[in-house]
Symmetry: C2
Subunit: 152 residues, 2 copies
DNA sequence: GCTTCACTGCAATAGTATAATGTTTCATAT
DNA sequence: ATATGAAACATTATACTATTGCAGTGAAGC
């Protein structure tokens, strides 16, 4: 998972879109955790960066982060976890993006899952109601294996 | 659907919990639309109420609305639509609460769907990863039947 | 009557996201 | 090299969503 950045750069090159420093840094920060990260956590980190770089005047503002996140989501490199208003790196940027998450209520970790049967069922359910599905959000909250065993 | 309030009062009585004026009013406002309602829309309505009632001093504040929403969600009378940070009345308050939504990107309407097969599949997927599922969020965004035909 | 506990009122603040506007950067074609 | 146009970025302000903490109130049970 550590070379997510390399993979991302390759993908962007293929697609002819630019991965700028701000976008790269946001992607990097999103990937540094295995749990969803809030936009303002990213913002704080980047503001700290700027200070360290001796550019106290150049303050990073929310739109910088949100624009980068929008771009990364468009490119399928990052997903938003709706139930937490937080963001997480996509673990298979090359493939389809019809996926779900298993989110641990204890440790906050989120595992991305992809399942053909689930995608099919969601489409079927939608069309059963005459509904044309475009995208879907599936988030399951509960206890991950390690937190479950600790709780026992 | 119009007697959702009556049903709610019955349910609360059975369970020995109180449905106070604030909670009743919030439930009423949530039910008045077929689309998800934001907490601050509810808040504005209730502030207008208070003014009309000639109680200009008694301002309704956010916690009043959020506390009522929390209560109503605990009782399964209202669901939160995570992808919109909005709330919607539950169409089968007596039954299970493992449900999903079909959300129209055009008109904003949201249809609640419940499906045993989907619930089962979600549980199966979770346990396949050693995950203990507690609750799930399923939201499908797309075009509802009437907006779909208009777009054609 | 008194206690207790859930509920509410109120003020402040935290956290998430976008609008509006102007400026910079960069690839490309001259 | 340089003009140009599109994409990206900076900046400020503001809108929207949600929570915390504490004080007061009122009804149910003793």
């Amino acid at each position: 998972m550590n070379d997510a950045l390399g993979a991302a750069e390759r993908l962007c090159a293929e697609r002819g879109v630019r991965i700028t420093p701000a976008r790269r840094r946001v992607l990097e920060l999103v990937w540094q955790r295995h749990a969803p990260v809030g936009a303002y956590d990213i913002l704080s980190e980047m503001q700290r960066d700027a200070e360290k770089d001796g550019k106290p005047g150049a303050k990073v503002a929310p739109p910088t982060v949100y624009r980068a996140l929008d771009f990364l989501m468009e490119q399928g490199l990052v997903h938003k976890v709706e139930s937490q208003n937080a963001y997480i790196g996509c673990s298979h940027p090359e493939g389809s993006h019809d996926c779900g998450f298993l989110i641990c209520r204890e440790c906050g970790s989120a595992l991305e899952i992809e399942d053909g049967e689930l995608s099919d069922l969601l489409k079927t359910l939608a069309s059963k109601h005459g509904f044309e599905a475009r995208s879907s959000t599936v988030e399951i909250e509960g206890l991950c294996p390690s937190c479950k065993s600790q709780a026992a």
